[in-house]
Symmetry: C2
Subunit: 441 residues, 2 copies
């Protein structure tokens, strides 16, 4: 066996320098080599990827898996719904005039003797529901009055007025601020950042604008690399020339423009270790793609960016996450949104993400060694069972099957577990083979 | 007062749209305006910054504050020390031949009948000391044998051999891997990542190489923007054209080359909210600088990058951290290193960072409103007292004074607290004024 490994030359998996030990590691290397021989030439794999990409480009809205309503277009969603709240990206002028109209209506109400009051959408959890037709969590349309002349709401009405005025000031200057900045402009009134944050979400719903339209942004965490060109605040960014570090995903999505790409798919990666491997090996040059990661739990900026790419480029999105309930949970946040931001789910979610790997069935299929798998904890199993009850999982029979496999074997594994077959196994064998076999669900 | 504010026009601090309320916020805005009027023209501030930059460029090693040993040069530090261990960046060939020499000496030991054994530097905490002359934490030179023919060390000797062989394989391929990747290549042997991580540090000490020379990298967290051009894995990165998002700092510092800059200083920022403000306002165009942040606790990649910039560009480093014990702790990690990585402190630390703000004395000096200050918790006070006992703080009388002020007033404040004077107060008033007054310690 050590003979075979030597012959494999520099292309063989790492660990080759310890040819004396006929242990797990070298068996793994020879198995990796046998898989490698199954790989067809790249041209043949690329042909099938091209077919996938063009199918994805035409799937608007007809072929999009389930309902037509799942469509991912840039049309104004505010019009097509009366039962639930949909906010949309708006430009500075539009948001400013919405604020002006709102304040004017409040003024009219005062003049008419009806007093100073806001009408605010209710964002309680009972009001946040998953709509199977839309395949995302939405906020039902149900409003409550917030009068100033009422002991229980006087403070909240004041905070609402103050936040409206601050957002107005931010927009007038054309800058972006964080939630924390907003809080600190009037600590005396807001008292706690949770208060100003909550009212900011209220204001977003009241105006029918996304939070990023209000120019209040989240901090950035994500990075992107690959076959993508875009403008960040006017600067042209070529993501094939971003080295190994990649380009930090901008916090303010409205400053992103001029998106161009010759990629065939978007590869969404859970963790930065896998991202680094892909970036260093310039995987996107072999299989034209855009690679992005939020380094764990997806932040708002990365979710907005992914959706923007999907909407504009109409590329299929393939996901590489750990084979554990959290990997699936991360997918669910990208696809269906989080409950807290349900009013903005249309802008934050990217439906139709394909689960490429590492899937529970991959562990046996790709012979991930026993010692690289981890036993699921009680908490893991609890989360897994909760996921099984989620509507978005139930919609996809093959996802249910995978999750059941996971809960049955009680085993989990990280993407990094693939390193047991060699450091570059991920980019040289596993992913190419997955793409060749169109092995996503 | 509202009259004065209106006259101030669009340059006035935010919050101006609520002119009816004579509350804290508008008083703050008018105070900000009075400070703004103290600002000299930028040319005059730039002249003093130029003087600072050229002083910094010549301070090698003579004027570097305390001891000459604090010098920050790219000389080989391995030669000038016998009492403590210093590792250095080495290229692939050098590390490979060091591994070969090491393995050869082990083989000779076996042939000579002395058995299979490694000589490994002790990295226990009693061996990690702060050297005032060097102004950083170092690892004393004290070695222990790690023989294979001994029950207590047999396993560790095997792990050491395995890690050496894996590093050798990584170097031969010219790639970079994470600690997690390394662990997963032989889970059966390593059992726990803590074991392979610890031995990796041992190997780093044994070979006298930095961990990044071994091509085992940490994950990246930091971002950079401003007057800086460098090459990341051969791609030319112009950090003035990285939009608001900035460029992610590459995890593998040895792929960074061709550093060029016309900046006058490096602005080190604790948090990404402040970074975003500086990036969006393109602060570096008004005052030529390089702005970087690790988004909280500094990671190894950001520390390596900062040091690299300081070594090559010889620019002064000014730091903006929260006014709390953790802000100071973060500075200490950049300046003196963490105890765990003491053997590599020479490559990871950047001495002579100036504490620009937010300093405890700034709270009164810049009239940060009471409600934007937070009371220190018992834990904060404990950490503050510990910092006061740290050698690196004691060396600088003005730092001690600031820390004493903090502990006396029992108040802390975030950088974001400056937003109470307007969203752009940081970039338009506070920082320019600090630079004008050369108010750093």
């Amino acid at each position: 066996m050590s003979e075979r490994k030597r012959r494999a030359g520099p292309g063989a998996a790492a660990g080759g320098s310890t040819s004396k030990k006929p242990r797990g590691a070298s068996a793994a290397a020879s198995y990796a080599q046998s898989l490698r021989s199954k790989l067809r030439p790249d041209d043949s794999i690329l042909a099938s990827l091209r077919a996938l990409a063009s199918a994805s480009a035409q799937s608007k809205p007809a072929t999009a898996s389930s309902a037509g309503a799942k469509a991912l277009a840039e049309d104004d969603p505010a019009s097509d719904s009366s039962s639930y709240i949909v906010v949309a990206d708006q430009d500075i002028n539009s948001v400013t005039s919405r604020i002006n109209r709102l304040v004017l209506s409040v003024a009219r109400s005062i003049l008419a003797g009806r007093g100073f009051s806001f009408s605010v959408p209710s964002r309680t959890s009972t009001n946040q529901v998953y709509l199977p037709d839309l395949d995302r969590i939405v906020l039902l349309r149900r409003e409550a009055a917030r009068p100033f002349a009422n002991v229980t709401t006087a403070r909240k009405a004041t905070v609402t007025a103050r936040v409206l005025s601050l957002v107005h000031a931010v927009l007038r200057r054309g800058i972006h601020v964080t939630k924390r900045d907003l809080f600190y402009t009037d600590v005396k009134l807001f008292e706690d950042q949770a208060h100003s944050d909550a009212v900011l979400d209220d204001v977003s719903c009241m105006l029918g604008c996304t939070r990023s339209s209000l120019h209040v942004v989240a901090s950035e965490k994500g990075v992107v690399v690959g076959r993508l060109i875009f403008h960040d605040d006017g600067d042209r960014i070529d993501c094939t020339r971003m080295g190994v570090g990649g380009k930090a995903i901008p916090p303010n999505i409205d400053r992103v423009s001029g998106i161009e790409s010759d990629a065939l798919f978007i590869l969404l990666v859970e963790k930065d270790a896998a991202f680094m491997r892909l970036a260093e090996d310039r995987f996107y040059n072999r299989f034209p793609c855009i690679i992005l990661t939020a380094k764990g739990q997806p932040d708002v900026a990365t979710r907005l960016f992914l959706r923007r790419l999907k909407v504009e480029l109409k590329l299929p999105v393939l996901a590489m996450v750990d084979s554990d309930p959290y990997g699936l949970k991360i997918l669910s946040v990208y696809m269906c949104g989080s409950k807290n931001m349900s009013y903005d789910s249309a802008n934050l979610t990217t439906p139709d993400i394909k689960w490429l790997g590492v899937r529970p069935s991959d562990l046996d299929k790709y012979r991930v060694p026993e010692q690289c798998r981890l036993p699921m904890t009680d908490h893991d199993i609890k989360v897994g069972k909760e996921m099984l009850a989620e509507d978005f999982v139930k919609q996809n029979a093959s996802w249910v099957k995978e999750l059941e496999t996971m809960l049955q074997t009680k085993q989990k594994a990280e993407i990094q577990a693939l390193s047991s077959f060699g450091f570059q196994y991920l980019t040289e064998v596993y992913l190419p083979l997955k793409l060749q076999q169109e092995d996503w669900i």
